[in-house]
């Protein structure tokens, strides 16, 4: 399972790498988010995420013409695969990438380092509390 979790984080990092002035997705925060999703999120979200990552890993043949898993691609081809999957004619592939980007965005967009780089206020802490009485 650790191997799979590393793959999940790796795919998120491909979707949202560092820009010239902004950090990319933080692998530690991403791993933490995936663990929180495992504990808290409904089955549909977890299933969709894992299925989308599996589609990402298995689809280089239809995006860059390489009959191998995405994890075997060179850095250049991997980025090409990522970009082409997001704009692929197949709705299924595009939706799989949208799911990956959505989860990556939950991690990246709340990262204080990213928000600082973009001139945005960091988020305050959350209690998750509700009225019990």
């Amino acid at each position: 399972m650790r191997w799979w979790r590393r793959r999940l984080v790796g795919v998120m990092a491909c979707a949202l790498p560092a820009g010239a002035t902004t950090p990319g997705i933080d692998p530690d925060r991403c791993a933490e988010l995936i663990e929180r999703l495992r504990c808290e999120a409904p089955l549909l979200i977890r299933f969709s995420l894992h299925a989308s990552v599996a589609v990402f890993l298995l689809s280089p043949l239809v995006t860059v013409g390489r009959p191998c898993p995405a994890s075997w691609l060179s850095a250049e081809n991997l980025d090409r695969h990522t970009a082409r999957m997001a704009r692929h004619p197949s709705y299924l592939l595009r939706q799989a990438m949208l799911m990956i980007k959505t989860v990556a965005g939950l991690c990246w967009g709340a990262d204080p380092a990213v928000r600082r780089a973009l001139g945005m206020e960091p988020y305050p802490a959350e209690t998750g509390e509700w009225r019990r009485m």
């Binding site: 491909c14 979707a15 949202l16 790498p17 560092a18 820009g19 010239a20 002035t21 902004t22 990319g24 988010l33 929180r36 504990c39 808290e40 999120a41 409904p42 549909l44 979200i45 980025d79 090409r80 990522t82 970009a83 999957m85 997001a86 704009r87 709705y91 595009r94 939706q95 990438m97 949208l98 990956i100 980007k101 959505t102 990556a104 965005g105 939950l106 990246w108 967009g109 709340a110 990213v114 928000r115 973009l118 001139g119 945005m120 988020y123 305050p124 802490a125 959350e126 209690t127 998750g128 509390e129 509700w130 009225r131 019990r132 009485m133």
Partner: protein, 515 residues
């Protein structure tokens, strides 16, 4: 002045152990715009009311700040409800005390006279006349402290849209909102932590409790109890909002017996499935489901816009109502902007670096499409709905208008987010938008204004409720939310839902029994 949080006298949250039983005059299912409005009206008339809400009761200081927190704590089913058709369109609703009024942009728009005229043509003009709706909406605006946004509340993101509309001599206005002292924290979608938004969990729900009623939160109603053709209460089970791993989600069962009647306001995705689970078999149940789907056009400006500053939605235009779409500014939190900006990988990361210079405006279509909503076998409802080709053409037209308005306001480029078009378009490339594909899978739709499933009307074969909103074939059972609206509105529906619910609840309260 922000709304005061009134301590309720009777609130029951998640319970385990022995079943909970209550006897009241009326039970209301759902605490959003329709349910809370109806419950407060009944409580004011001296009736004892029990308000049942599936989600937990959170106060503003406990609202989440992040989108992840909002999905977990406020959004219904973590935002995983989709309209299934040719494409998957996400449906944004809340599941908490206050319902979607907690996470919407608190936009207050009166029911357009054209819509009331359409209702009158359907034979529904007696109860919901222009005079009755107008008087009710006057009162609602006073009660909820509706104000027009201005100054720091708008900020550049919305001001730019107003400027662009003015430059083309098009109607445009700062939005009226039930948010008295909005400081423009840009957190509407995650719930207003400042407590400025007068969502129903801050006004009418506590009022129900202080007037001797009972609020059941984390209380999922499974069915309406019907005996000898008469609604006599509801039953369900408490559901833990955040169970620890290994902890059971389900808690005690509850039964609320209602001496005078049951009012269902479980939303356009919840009311029809609840009646279906309760054994009703009306031909129109779950049909006539409608929406106002929309999509966004991003503009990238030479200067910083910081759309996260200012109110989430500050400006709107109804200039194209006759063409069945409206335009609005809408600020997305950074986490969601990631999903909206097209592409992935290195070039995409560079595009996201422009986030502080982006402004997002949306076109929402008064769609013609109709779908269905049914009770799902696994819990969440199943919505089948697909915008028609004409709806998609209207959206394309709206997005084209928005792109041109962005350039009028000084944008360098726009990011259309339409599959089949380049990721960025300059001012000389806008003709590409006019020939964009008319395939709803090519657009990033979102559905937030929902109607139908328990449509009102005079024809028993095509409606679930009559004009007084009583459910056909069952005495003392009413539907008082967006599910009963017979048409789309072309504007934000909260104000209409509240007015309709209050008018009907007032009539119910004034009757000795109910229909």
């Amino acid at each position: 002045m922000a709304a005061d949080v009134i301590a309720p006298r009777a609130h029951l949250s998640f319970q385990t152990g022995a079943p909970v039983e209550l006897d009241v005059d009326y039970v209301v299912v759902g605490s959003g715009a329709g349910g809370a409005a109806a419950a407060a009206t009944l409580a004011r008339s001296g009736r004892t009311v029990c308000l049942c809400e599936r989600g937990p009761w959170r106060d503003p200081e406990h609202y989440p700040a992040t989108v992840y927190g909002a999905m977990r704590d406020l959004w219904a089913d973590w935002g995983t409800l989709f309209a299934r058709g040719r494409s998957m369109i996400p449906i944004l609703q809340a599941s908490c005390v206050g319902g979607t009024t907690v996470i919407n942009s608190a936009i207050v728009v009166r029911t357009p006279p054209t819509v009331l005229a359409e209702w009158a043509e359907l034979g529904l003009g007696e109860v919901f006349s222009e005079t009755a709706m107008g008087a009710e909406q006057d009162e609602l605006e006073r009660e909820l402290g509706v104000t027009q946004m201005k100054g720091r509340q708008l900020m550049e993101h919305s001001e730019a849209l107003l400027r662009a509309l003015r430059s083309r001599d098009l109607e445009g206005h700062a939005i009226h909102r039930n948010a008295r002292d909005c400081i423009g924290s840009g957190q509407c979608l995650q719930g207003c932590r400042e407590g400025a938004k007068t969502s129903t969990n801050l006004c009418w729900v506590p009022e129900v409790a202080t007037r001797g009623g009972t609020v059941l939160s984390c209380a999922s109603v499974a069915r309406v109890l019907i005996e000898r053709g008469r609604a006599v209460g509801v039953s369900g089970r408490f559901v833990h909002p955040a169970p620890a791993r290994g902890q059971r989600r389900g808690g005690s069962r509850f039964v609320v017996r209602a001496r005078r009647g049951v009012l269902v306001a479980a939303s356009a995705t919840g009311s029809a499935p609840l009646l279906e689970r309760s054994g009703l078999r009306l031909p129109a149940l779950g049909r006539g489901w409608r929406g106002q789907p929309g999509a966004a056009m991003l503009g990238v400006y030479p200067h910083e816009v910081h759309m996260e500053r200012g109110t989430t939605q500050g400006a709107a235009s109804l200039a194209f109502s006759s063409e069945r779409f409206k335009l609005e500014s809408l600020a997305l939190p950074l986490e969601l902007l990631v999903a909206r900006v097209g592409g992935a990988g290195v070039d995409y990361a560079r595009a996201l670096e422009q986030a502080p210079r982006m402004a997002m405006w949306v076109a929402a279509v008064r769609a013609e499409a109709q779908g269905t909503v049914r009770a799902g076998r696994l819990g969440p409802p199943v919505v089948r709905y697909a915008p028609t080709r004409r709806d998609t053409e209207r959206l394309r037209q709206g997005l084209g208008r928005l792109a041109r308005l962005h350039f009028d306001a000084g944008a360098e480029k726009v990011l259309p987010g339409i599959h089949g078009l380049p990721g960025e378009l300059g001012p000389d490339e806008l003709t590409a938008l006019d020939s964009a594909p008319v395939d709803n899978r090519c657009y990033t739709w979102v559905l937030s204004h929902l109607f139908g499933g328990c449509v009102m009307g005079n024809d028993p074969t095509r409606s679930v409720v009559a004009e007084d909103l009583h459910v056909r074939g069952v005495r003392r059972l009413h539907v008082v939310d967006a599910a009963c609206l017979p048409t789309t509105l072309g504007v934000n529906p909260q104000h209409t839902i509240m007015a309709v619910a209050r008018i009907v609840a007032g009539r119910i309260a004034n009757e000795e029994g109910t229909t």
